[in-house]
Symmetry: D2
């Protein structure tokens, strides 16, 4: 195992990845480079520096990737109205390709020959990290400690810390019973009582949103301005992508919006139960559909809907850095050039509903759609021929005795 000389680790500063630093140094007798990113998880990243230093790490990378994360990953994904299995907004999935890319870039900069991460062998994240890494640097060595070591219980981890002088009390917060992951798009919860799909999540599990019951008794209205498929302003105030999402998270969370409780199918073949808070994303999804409803042609809209499940699967499974994702993205982005305008949303006790939408690119034509006199804009007699020819194949079949009922 001594062929690894330097490894870049996705380092959170938490207990698990701190153990990994030490374990890598010891097991592979190699230098460890840490990489810690602020992608909006809501915790300070700077403290990771001292912790890494204490573990003997010399090359420490700490970065604020919030803008890049939302601009280059979250926004493109939302252009497709992406939902995995009809419900999940892919909050964890969409952050992984960015982390994978930075791991590889830092490996290239620092001359490292390996990367490492703290994802377990049962989950999707290992797949996402590693597929990304291999796609960007095919010869890279990947070390996944959770698949290698025998520290497969909290007790063994603690014993290891004790043995290696790793300070255990990394946080004054009470250890959550849930496995969590957070970034600007969402926070996720798994494990604990959630392992029983019949059990309702406890109220104090949720961290970013108040309950609908505790939300204000009066609705909040906001206006979102879109340009080419992306939100560029809230209530007329121009914002950068990550500022948009931060603002929407606050607005959504305050109104009890964005909680989701599902059983999903992991790429590794098992079902798992997860709870997610995606306050801003939930608002964005509905608002994007609303602006598209005015500005997209019917057939491109329908084609997008047919492609979306595949696109979601590609991202969920970890293939962001793949030809098929690029191909789908090319189709999706082609449709967004006219997706501009304003959507008015009502936020109230758990619901984000559309209250209005307008666009200079609107294809809604009141003069045609009206129930009133349309002054000849639409000739109702055309409908007869339209129906007759669309019915022709059915009539021929019925005439030949085929039954459709």
């Amino acid at each position: 195992m001594s062929d690894v000389k330097k490894v870049v680790l996705a380092y959170s500063g938490g207990l698990d990845t701190s153990v990994i630093v030490k374990w890598l140094q010891e097991t592979y007798d190699c230098e460890v480079v840490t990489f810690t990113a602020d992608i909006g998880q809501g915790e300070e990243v700077e403290p990771a520096r001292a912790k890494a230093q204490a573990l003997g790490v010399k090359e420490i990378h700490i970065e604020d990737l919030r803008e890049e994360f939302v601009r280059d990953y979250v926004y493109p994904m939302f252009r497709a109205n992406t939902l995995y299995e009809g419900e999940y907004l892919l909050g964890t999935s969409i952050a992984r390709p960015l982390i994978a890319r930075r791991l590889i870039e830092i490996a290239d900069q620092t001359g490292a020959d390996a990367i490492s991460h703290g994802a377990t062998g049962k989950g999707n994240d290992q797949v996402r990290f590693e597929l990304g890494a291999y796609a960007l640097k095919p010869g890279v060595k990947v070390i996944a400690p959770w698949r290698e070591w025998d520290l497969n219980s909290r007790e063994k981890l603690m014993a290891y810390c004790h043995q290696h002088d790793i300070p255990v009390d990394f946080s004054s917060k009470k250890k959550s019973p849930y496995s969590m992951d957070a970034n600007l798009l969402h926070i996720s919860y798994e494990g604990g009582i959630l392992e029983d799909p019949w059990a309702e999540a406890e109220e104090d599990m949720w961290r970013w949103s108040v309950s609908p019951e505790a939300a204000p008794d009066t609705p909040t209205y906001i206006e979102l301005t879109y340009e080419r498929g992306d939100i560029v302003a809230i209530d007329g105030v121009p914002m950068k992508p990550h500022e948009v999402l931060e603002k929407l998270n606050t607005l959504g969370g305050d109104n009890g919006i964005g909680r989701l409780d599902i059983v999903e199918n992991r790429y590794v073949g098992m079902k798992s139960r997860g709870c997610y808070e995606t306050p801003g994303g939930t608002i964005m999804l509905r608002a994007h559909r609303a602006i598209e409803s005015l500005t997209l042609d019917r057939e491109e809209a329908h084609l997008k809907d047919e492609l979306m499940p595949k696109y979601a699967e590609v991202i969920y499974n970890g293939y962001w850095w793949s030809p098929e994702r690029r191909m789908l993205q090319a189709a999706i982005d082609e449709t967004q050039k006219n997706v501009s305008g304003v959507v008015r949303m009502k936020l109230y006790k758990g619901s984000a509903t559309v209250a209005g939408r307008r666009s200079d690119q609107s294809l809604f034509d009141e003069s045609i759609a009206t129930f009133e006199d349309d002054a000849g804009a639409y000739d109702q007699k055309d409908a007869e021929g339209f129906i007759k020819l669309n019915a022709l194949r059915l009539r021929i079949a019925a005439g030949k005795g085929r039954r459709q009922d």
Copy 2:
């Protein structure tokens, strides 16, 4: 035009279709048979009898089709988690094939050679009625008065009534400014101020649901029992399909659930703005996804999601009675044989959320999914090979210089 001898009219008992009775008698010099169905629109159908008699109709068909409607049309559609353009639950679309079939069956019984309906030449309903009719009886003559006559304003209609002694005050209710359609699945609103997509619907437009603001301050929990994809009991009480939907409409409406405000793409080529109340359907959609999340295999679930937009389009466009709908239904129904179990739903101020799901057919395996020790049920080392081979094509491409970023 004298070749029509007898025509079966879809007769609501309202002003417009009463005018059509008279207009058909006069224009085609033919006998008119009326057909009025209770599909849960929430109005008495029996009064249509006297009105038809007063118009000189001799063959009057009045039927309660609620059970058949939900059992044979709504339920099969919900097995696919069907949404048109990501949002619309197809409340109007799904009632049309049933009406079309009964029109044709009554035509066959009464020896009529034509059918007629009160749908306009701009909408989808004319298409749905007529495609259905042609598919079931290819030689039938279809008369669509709105595409033929010149009574294209309220004033002209009134004048016609006056002239032909048709009692105008059919209803004591104030005439709604909206064009509406209702059945057990939903009520729809179009026209009036809704023709401006920026204008929010007025609160007093909605008829079936209280506003989320006016809904109770405490949530309601219910348990829905599924068998093979369909709800068969609420809170343990067995019910017929239409009883299920009636009950869920009440529960949903009381909790402000099921309001939808969208701009949609009509099959005839224009965009239109519609508001819909689908209280029970909204609950059913989320609950069905929840029971499927436990009981469907991943790949069949994903394939269903990929086929759904097409299936929704087929129904929206009026092709229920078509080979392609049957083909899709065969695929969908094949997946539902294990979709049995119980879903617990929380209804609260506009939201229907899943609080739990359980099933004897569950494919969720706690012993594998657990974050705790799984006693060897899953070998984490398998993940490495899984990732390596899935990455192989990406690695080869990257090794040959292809860039994915």
Copy 3:
């Protein structure tokens, strides 16, 4: 009908469109502008000038569009390996959008307010011409004489010619019993004895190819050079797109390649029987798949295959100038940037088969694929984990009693 002042007619110089010139002048009392294009139909276009002049046409447009036709329409379509209903290479369909565009451009240049064409009311071509025209100039008036006039038999047409001094003997060639259409991509035959799907086409119907029986007894080998999905050279000789197709038509025709006899589904709702000769296109299709087999990633290749039927339908139905075609094209073109290399084809008595393919962009990796020792390029043990995790969902289901057989 007097609101039309000037109309641009797609004029072939043949009898039917000559009648249309006169009929338009007379019926609409308008000026007729003729447009005749060489798109490789194999007949001189210049003679159309004198004929138009004789009919009193003042603005006569005659153009050589062969290069544009192949470069901007045929080539992009072949990037998708496009086949309608699994067999038809869309030879007629792909020429229509170009004609539609030129009709509209000439209408704009000449100040015409209408266009006209000689397609009948039963076929696809009327749809293709008119959808294109409306998409490019929404207010244009379209005149389709075959849907308007009563000259619906050869006798009536002849009588009309006689009456209006239109010279009937436009061609010394014996009138074919088939309805034909030709361009650089193909020649089509319909009607006559082909209206019986059981009847085999007569040998003397075919015009571009010898029969396989009559083709040379020794095979011809050629090498096609691809760059980014398009053929740029034959046997190392660089050629323009239309030169490539002309050359391949000759090579294919000489070897009995490209005859097709099918029953297809028209967009207007009926089935029709057609025979097609597409010598060059048949070679191109197979060769393109061969170069893609080396250079495309698996998943993008599969996604292309899944999108192809839709793309073919879009073109067949006449929606080249549509957002959905652009969206699909964006996806397709995204995949072609590495589709470069050389394919060696064997042409022999009706068959075009692949004899070899090579590419600098090849993703074929002999060191991995080899049956011999691969020096560690591929670790066979990875396969176990790959299979185990892919089987997991099936094993769980089987473990819970689900049967798959």
Copy 4:
């Protein structure tokens, strides 16, 4: 490794699987049960009995599965016009699920706790065998010697034989330089000079077909009778499914039909070059499309084409025994109930072309499709409305300034 007591081996009687018998006995100290099936590979299976006995095997299963193979696997697959990557007829893939099922059934009958096969760790067959086995018997142990042992060269295999008294001269035939697999549907060739995709296959590689050059100079015509999507008679002579395929193999092979030379994408992530001979299947594919062209509705035909690539991928990847395959099969089979009639095929020097098709279930309607007077069966004026409404969305977009060119 001593936990295996009895293992069922897919035994060909050849050298490799004979070595495996011995290796399993030795390595696992277990009893080996052999299973040898005649699926039309064209070699006697009975000689495998003596060879197995010589190796000390006590439970020997030798079966003729030809009828079951074609009836339950090949025929259902052909109903979908299945092609992997546009070209490959899946000859190897479709045999694996049958073998997997029999292995499991024999394991159940004999009380074996494991199965084994001779597929290598680089190919698709290991995946197909093992996914099938796990789907049918989730707890089964699978032993894949090629992934475990170190006999990874011919020399080592020979040494092993020598050492264990395994007679090496199993066959008097000269060892082919290719890796081959055969069954009633096809014979495949890989390896050797084929590892260079530029190299043309040598003529003497092909075993089932003469070269097109060597085929008869006059065409052969045959008539294939279909019932519900399957061929039931040739030239009016009723035959069982496997008899049909045997006959078509002879007819096709005699006429040089069914050779294919491709580079394909394996499920394990690499490209490989393969040559295939599928004489009967090639005829069946074209003929099935022909009978469908008369009898299928347009929209179901198109939907089948859209689903086919997925269905092919499912089979190629080894998921025959899966919910997604069943779901797709349900959709496909639903369409076949009217696919009955007769197809006339011309076989000539490498080409199988359609010369005619007829059906009592035909949807081809001469009275409508005719170029002659149709006596009012089709009203050409309907086309105008059809086109106008289909164009409406495009016209609105163009009217608002959107450009489609």
